[in-house]
Symmetry: none
Subunit: 249 residues, 2 copies
DNA sequence: CCGGTTTTTGCGATTTTGTGCGAGAATTTA
DNA sequence: TAAATTCTCGCACAAAATCGCAAAAACCGG
């Protein structure tokens, strides 16, 4: 078993169960606990999980992390949110994933907007619910505690039978060669279905996540119609994406 | 159970109930009181709560004093919650409606309980999600903003294809002649479907709502197996229900 | 294909951490 | 004031982490 492979599996387990024990992982993959521990420390260094005595926990336990860059990042996300909102017009059906950037967009929706929002992300749904004129459709299935989103075949089937005008994807990693990538298998399945079920795919991401990759590919770049970051559309960092035929806002 | 995990649970409990007892926490998580005490001291050191003799208090407890009938009603709901929880055992599939009584039950689930909870109520889902060992199935459909629950044909169809062990209904009005009644058409449809899709129907209600009615009937009394109120099962107010063949806790 | 280098992994000895227990002290409660 | 909890403190024990080291595997330039 490859190291990367092992770490991807660990990450998957953490996302699924919110915790992992070094002992049981060592048992499952037949490597020493030392190796597992080293893996966990590496993943903790990359901020993918939280190492604790005896195993590791998912970030969702700490609730409020990154207090330091919070405000800073917030500004960026707000910029992104403003641009995203400008794409929505009355009467549209909008499919959205989860993630903090999407949340920020949800909070920025103008109160007079009348549209239908469809999502399996629970935090996003909570935001949409507060809006006076928006219809909210919740996609049901098993709830993934870590990503706070419904995942599974039911959810995917439901998405498949939709045909939305717009699809907003909160994106964790985007790259010229590898397209958009994720580390959670279930979320990948969902996002793939979302991409297939809408007329226009819009990726929202802060520029730090550009040109980074994660283990599992969601789709190639050419499936994406629009990319929104906090940068000016003319920023040189975005040039390769424009050249790849993506509309950049 | 990991130390951090345990502390996260304690914190969650403190924030919900504003107080925790060392003894009951020790009992719930099957660790010694010593361990709980050490946890409480650590959390108190971090300023997350206030350690007192016998347990701990939430920080907000000092500052804000809440409305008197709030606490009162809360106590009743807590009593109901305790009784309801006692009906659930490991491995069960439990269908629940929404409502504050259900929420209180969700908050009182012992951490080691492993069960699957199915609901379309968004506040309830949020509570279930905090629990370390519970699988959460969210029923999707259009979100009703005022009842914070998914309603519609999709949701009803989904419920119909289930077969749960237990169904908890937060009940707004119960009466000997009219059975249980509601004032929201969509919710009535949902609850009817829930009653048909489980082996055992349990109604949770505070005694004030007994012998009251609302415009739309959900079902006759004979569909209900168990009634839980804050009263003692021997209370004379409950006698007619016992005589009607309902198990009363 | 081959030496040399780097990375990865496992092992044993030692240290640290987490937990429970018992006895006596401190406190709450009746 | 007496009885019942709850706390403190020291200790023991097991599980987990750390450290140094060495074998094994992967990588690489020629």
């Amino acid at each position: 078993m490859l190291k990367k492979e092992r770490q991807a599996y660990i990450l998957h387990q953490v996302n699924l169960h919110n915790k992992v024990l070094s002992a049981s992982l060592s048992n499952e993959m037949k490597v020493s606990e030392d190796t597992i521990r080293r893996d966990l420390y590496e993943l903790a260094d990359e901020g993918k999980l939280i190492k604790v005595h005896g195993g590791a926990l998912s970030h969702s336990f700490n609730e409020v992390h990154f207090p330091s860059n919070g405000v800073y990042s917030q500004n960026k996300k707000n910029k992104i949110a403003q641009k995203a909102v400008s794409l929505i017009s009355n009467g549209m059906f909008v499919l959205t994933s989860g993630g903090t950037t999407i949340l920020e967009m949800a909070r920025s929706l103008p109160p007079q907007l009348k549209a239908t929002f469809i999502s399996g992300s629970i935090p996003a749904i909570l935001e949409y619910m507060h809006h006076p004129n928006i219809e909210v459709i919740l996609i049901g299935d098993k709830v993934s505690k870590n990503s706070k989103i419904t995942v599974g075949l039911e959810a995917i089937a439901k998405i498949r039978q939709m045909q939305a005008d717009l699809c907003f994807l909160g994106t964790n990693a985007i790259d010229l060669q590898h397209g958009i990538t994720e580390n959670d298998w279930d979320v990948v399945q969902l996002k793939r279905a979302m991409i297939e079920s809408c007329k226009k795919v819009v990726c929202l991401t802060i520029s730090e996540k550009m040109n980074t990759t994660q283990p599992i590919q969601i789709c190639e770049l050419n499936k994406i119609h629009t990319l929104i970051t906090e940068l000016e559309p003319t920023d040189p960092k975005l040039k390769p994406y424009v050249e790849a035929g993506i509309e950049v806002l």
